[in-house]
């Protein structure tokens, strides 16, 4: 896990944060209702994950570890992530207000989901350096984006497909997500 490229590959495909580690799966349910916003959501989340990985690593290595305040890691990570999510959301509202309205509950999701927190906490658990943390955050974001866009494509196909009545709605979404997850888990051992 120390080779720089293998961290990126591992974060995107093998240890995919969404489908293999199963963090932030609520994003899939969100996207199933709004397929047209997949790209915007992916970009926003990737930006927040990368920035939060960087800032959380800095806070961890400069403040928490020297003062032996490791138990504060979760709290400070949440604070940082909420701030970044709010700033990101305000940026989107200012530049593309129609897009923000279409995205629905983006800000609450960004601020409260486990995906971004998991990246930050795992980085400190594995005691990665700054550049490794940023790369891991970027990889998690890219992996998330990949899954989100693929899943959005599947959902668009499903709206035109003849889904049996008992399976319509949440059921077919979960089945599709589960099948995608199995496919991604099959990639383990790639690197």
């Amino acid at each position: 896990m120390t080779d720089t490229n293998s961290i990126l590959m591992s974060a995107i495909l093998i240890n995919n944060i969404l489908l293999v580690q199963l963090f932030g799966v609520s994003a899939l349910a969100n996207i199933a209702n709004r397929p047209s916003t997949a790209v915007a959501m992916a970009i926003a989340t990737t930006a927040v994950i990368t920035l939060s990985a960087a800032v959380n690593h800095l806070i961890d290595s400069w403040i928490l570890v020297p003062l032996q305040l490791g138990y504060l890691r979760t709290l400070t990570s949440i604070l940082v992530i909420a701030t970044l999510a709010q700033c990101g959301a305000l940026l989107i509202v200012a530049q593309r207000p129609a897009l923000y309205r279409e995205l629905g509950g983006l800000l609450p999701w960004l601020a409260s989901n486990t995906l971004i927190l998991a990246v930050a906490l795992q980085n400190s658990l594995n005691t990665l350096t700054f550049s490794q943390s940023v790369r891991s955050g970027l990889g998690a974001g890219l992996g998330f984006s990949l899954v989100l866009i693929l899943f959005c494509a599947i959902c668009e196909r499903l709206t035109a497909a003849d889904v049996p009545r008992p399976f319509r709605g949440a059921a077919i979404t979960m089945i599709s997500a589960g099948l995608m997850s199995m496919a991604f888990m099959g990639l383990s051992g790639l690197v």
């Binding site: 806070i59 403040i63 928490l64 003062l67 032996q68 305040l69 504060l72 709290l75 400070t76 604070l79 940082v80 909420a82 701030t83 709010q86 700033c87 305000l90 940026l91 509202v93 200012a94 207000p97 309205r101």
Partner: protein, 205 residues
């Protein structure tokens, strides 16, 4: 029972948490000052009251640009398709006094009308298609043009460009009277939904 942590641990914990909270709050405050989301919500609220005919009679190329102009301070009485009802609603939303419709920008027409192309005379020039702001005319070059009545907002921007003058504005009725189209067809139409919100559901037989 373990030992209680040293006093310095309490101090550093609270210092870190307090400091981080203050920094984050300052950052969020700066972000709110730099990117005011309130103006955009205001514009959306104003735009929701405008009739969405996109006719340009207010001097702006559509209802959303006029909403943005109103948010920047322009007078609210420039929308003839909206009429006095829209002006009053805007006045109530913005907390200002209601004005009379500005005669320079047109007069209120209480009758709803939609465009109708007399197909015998249509030459297929597409000038009306290019003029229509809501894309309610179907057709192509040298092929027949026709107006889709449930998309037409009655803005009459298509009447002028027609070189053979074959477009009429015909009145429609909501209550099954002497109009050009049936009420059922217009129940979900653009013109009813936007110019008379709620009326389609309340008054249609």
């Amino acid at each position: 029972m373990g030992e209680l942590p040293a006093a310095s641990a309490y101090l550093s914990t609270s210092a870190v948490l307090l400091g981080l909270t203050l920094i984050c709050s300052a950052l969020i405050g700066c972000a709110w000052a730099r990117f005011p989301a309130d103006r955009d919500r205001r514009i959306v609220d104003i735009d929701d009251l405008l009739p969405q005919t996109q006719c340009g009679q207010c001097g702006h190329p559509g209802c959303r640009p006029y909403a943005e102009a109103i948010a920047d301070g322009q007078p609210i009485n420039r929308c003839p398709p909206g009429g006095q009802a829209t002006i009053d609603a805007l006045a109530q939303l913005l907390g200002v006094e209601s004005l009379a419709l500005d005669p320079e920008h047109g007069t209120e027409n209480p009758e709803i009308s939609v465009a109708y192309i007399r197909e015998d005379e249509c030459i297929g020039c597409t000038k009306c298609i290019q003029a229509c702001p809501v894309d309610a005319i179907v057709g192509a070059t040298k092929l027949m043009h026709t107006v889709i009545i449930d998309q037409c907002t009655g803005c009459d921007l298509c009447v002028e460009p027609c070189p053979v003058d074959c477009i009429d504005m015909l009145p429609v009725s909501i209550n099954g009277g002497q109009g050009v189209a049936s009420s059922a067809l217009l129940a979900t139409s653009n013109i009813i939904a936007h110019r008379h919100p709620g009326q389609a559901l309340r008054e249609l037989p």
